[in-house]
């Protein structure tokens, strides 16, 4: 391992620890509930985008159907809690495992597909799941599930008085997603994935088991995404198929990584930090009229950034410039 790379990784870890510590202190100064709400969403999307980035960025298998795993996580937690009284912590774990298992089952046939055939398959599968959930009466069908308030505690993962516990959980989630990526980046998996992304045929000929690499990326990515979904269900305490499994979630998970820098360690974080507050602010300040100005601003921004900086915004930071240009 060349020393420059090891040096960069050590610096990444230190920067991440400092940023996490600063982020943990922010709520001491920011008391406004509206702003805190945006901070929770920003951290959640950072975690989700980081998870998406593992499969689509590092391994190069572009999924526009991750809403499926997000929704499965949300539904598993909500259904176990409302129908069987199972604590959300177990629902979170269960949802993650179910999603990982489904990702493997779907990956088996889907990873034979390449390019746009694969992308469309991911969209179509998530849309099918959405339609099935909309027609599944036991799971609340199109009306969804109202998660009843049973207390205000970490045990039940419900907080009625303050948003802070959600904030700290989202922060931990984002840190875990970042750390998993950091750790995998330098593992054999990380090297396999980048080889598979760059040239699957060459990777195969050099002994990388392309299919298994993709399956591994899919399972990790789906697990983390589902945990994010479980968290979201507890955070908003009401879910319906469209609001947790709709196509817009698949996009919202992909966009931060794309804008920040796809297949990079910091891209999803940076992208989420810019995109999510911007989305929320345009929605509440100019979107209230219902006249679509928020969409115009948002869409124009996506066009401009993707054309002006195809390698992502992360390249603006010096010690990652080389990586982003690769």
């Amino acid at each position: 391992m060349d020393t420059a790379f090891a040096e960069r990784r050590r610096r990444d870890l230190i920067v991440a620890a400092c940023l996490a510590a600063i982020a943990a202190l922010v709520p001491l100064f920011v008391k406004d509930v509206y702003v805190q709400n945006i901070m929770v969403l920003t951290l959640m999307y950072a975690a989700l985008s980081q998870s998406w980035n593992i499969l689509s960025g590092y391994c190069g298998q572009i999924s526009l159907g991750h809403a499926l795993y997000f929704g499965l996580g949300a539904y598993t937690t909500a259904l176990l809690f409302t129908r069987f009284g199972v604590l959300p912590w177990f629902g979170m774990l269960g949802g993650g495992l179910i999603s990982a298992a489904i990702a493997l089952a779907l990956g088996y046939p889907c990873f034979r597909l390449r390019g746009h055939y694969f992308v469309i398959a991911t969209i179509v599968i998530a849309e099918t799941a959405l339609l099935l959930f909309q027609n599944w009466d036991w799971a609340g069908a199109a009306l969804g599930i109202d998660i009843p308030v049973r207390g205000d505690s970490w045990l039940k993962f419900q907080f009625t008085r303050s948003k802070l516990p959600y904030f700290y959980f989202a922060l931990v989630l984002a840190c875990i997603a970042w750390f998993v990526t950091w750790w995998l980046e330098d593992s054999k998996w990380g090297y396999w994935w980048r080889a598979v992304k760059d040239n699957p045929d060459a990777a195969e000929s050099l002994g990388v088991v392309v299919f298994n690499s993709k399956m591994g990326a899919a399972a990790v990515s789906a697990f983390l995404t589902a945990v994010g979904g479980s968290f979201y269900a507890q955070f908003v305490s009401y879910i319906d198929p469209e609001s947790v499994m709709g196509f817009q979630f698949s996009l919202l998970m992909a966009l931060p990584a794309v804008l920040g820098g796809i297949g990079t360690l910091w891209g999803p974080m940076l992208g989420a930090l810019i995109l999510i507050p911007l989305t929320e602010l345009t929605r509440s300040f100019i979107g209230g009229s219902g006249r679509g100005v928020d969409l115009i601003v948002y869409g124009a921004l996506i066009v401009l950034i993707s054309l002006a900086r195809p390698q992502g915004l992360v390249g603006l930071f010096s010690w990652h410039r080389k990586e982003a240009m690769r």
Binding site: G115, V124, L295, P310
Partner: protein
């Protein structure tokens, strides 16, 4: 379920399938030319429907007469989108695929926002057009006239497109640019011009479809989204890049949708389309008529 209901719904599925083919063929044409998937394709359909609606509402031009106008307007629009957005997306050195997806997708969001801003989110429809609401009975099967007309236009458009690609100079330039864009520059063909014309043509075809759809479908800012996914599935089913594949894919999608609606509740009718797509590509990863 009687034999008549089955034949009846298969017949309307066939008509709808031809229209799906017409919606999708522009996408297939552009992809075949330059390997780019236009993620704003549904929004092209949406503005064509609005154009038809406003020509009808303000100038009382029947959709039958405005269809060529709308197609011409969309031709210009498609060429402009290529020159202003896609041309630059093609230059991306890093993450080329992603840049194409998200630049056209961002454009789709802008177009939806603009439609909401200028046209409001209200549902609109064209009432009392020449063909609207009429049905015709052929051998005991009742067919809606607008869809029947649309199916005939779709067949004519596919015929014209086939002639155009195979029998005209521009068609040959298109084919040559698709084969090797670098080499055609050497013989004096401007790549950008061919691509702009390809985008114009693709947009004109979806414009034609939009003008016909406006006769019998509600018009609202998000209308494109519901047809866009069907169009992508149609193109992928037929095989990316294959114009004939889009035609065959459209027919298959229309028939599968009609069959699913007979068996499952109407809200699940798209599930059949999605299932058939997955089945086809799992067995044949390049679609029915696509090349590897």
């Amino acid at each position: 379920m009687t034999a008549e209901t089955i034949i009846q719904s298969l017949a309307s599925g066939l008509l709808m399938g031809l229209l799906y083919g017409l919606i999708a063929v522009g996408l297939a044409l552009i992809f075949g030319l330059m390997d780019v998937v236009n993620f704003a394709h549904g929004e092209f359909l949406m503005i064509a429907m609005y154009a038809t609606f406003f020509l009808f509402a303000f100038f009382a031009v029947d959709p039958l007469l405005s269809a060529p106008l709308v197609a011409a307007a969309l031709f210009l629009f498609g060429a402009v989108v290529y020159l202003l957005v896609v041309r630059f997306a093609m230059r991306a050195k890093a993450n080329a695929g992603m840049v194409q997806i998200f630049s056209t997708f961002g454009l789709a969001i802008v177009m939806r926002g603009l439609a909401q801003f200028f046209f409001t989110p209200d549902y609109r429809s064209i009432t009392h057009s020449w063909l609207g609401g009429k049905t015709v009975s052929i051998a005991g099967i009742f067919l809606p006239v607008p869809q029947l007309f649309g199916a005939l236009v779709a067949i004519a458009a596919f015929g014209a497109l086939w002639f155009f690609i195979n029998r005209t100079d521009f068609g040959r330039a298109l084919e040559a640019t698709r084969e090797d864009a670098g080499a055609v520059a050497l013989v004096g063909i401007d790549k950008n011009r061919v691509f702009a014309l390809g985008w114009g043509l693709g947009a004109a075809l979806v414009g034609l479809a939009g003008a016909i759809m406006a006769i019998f479908f509600y018009i609202y800012p998000d209308v494109g989204a519901s047809f866009a996914l069907i169009a992508y599935v149609t193109v992928a089913l037929g095989g990316f890049g294959s114009v004939f594949g889009a035609f065959a894919g459209g027919l298959l999608v229309g028939l599968v949708e009609a069959t699913t609606a007979l068996i499952l509740p109407p809200s699940l009718k798209s599930v059949g389309i999605y299932a058939v797509y997955l089945l086809v590509v799992f067995v044949r990863p390049r679609g029915l008529f696509g090349s590897l």
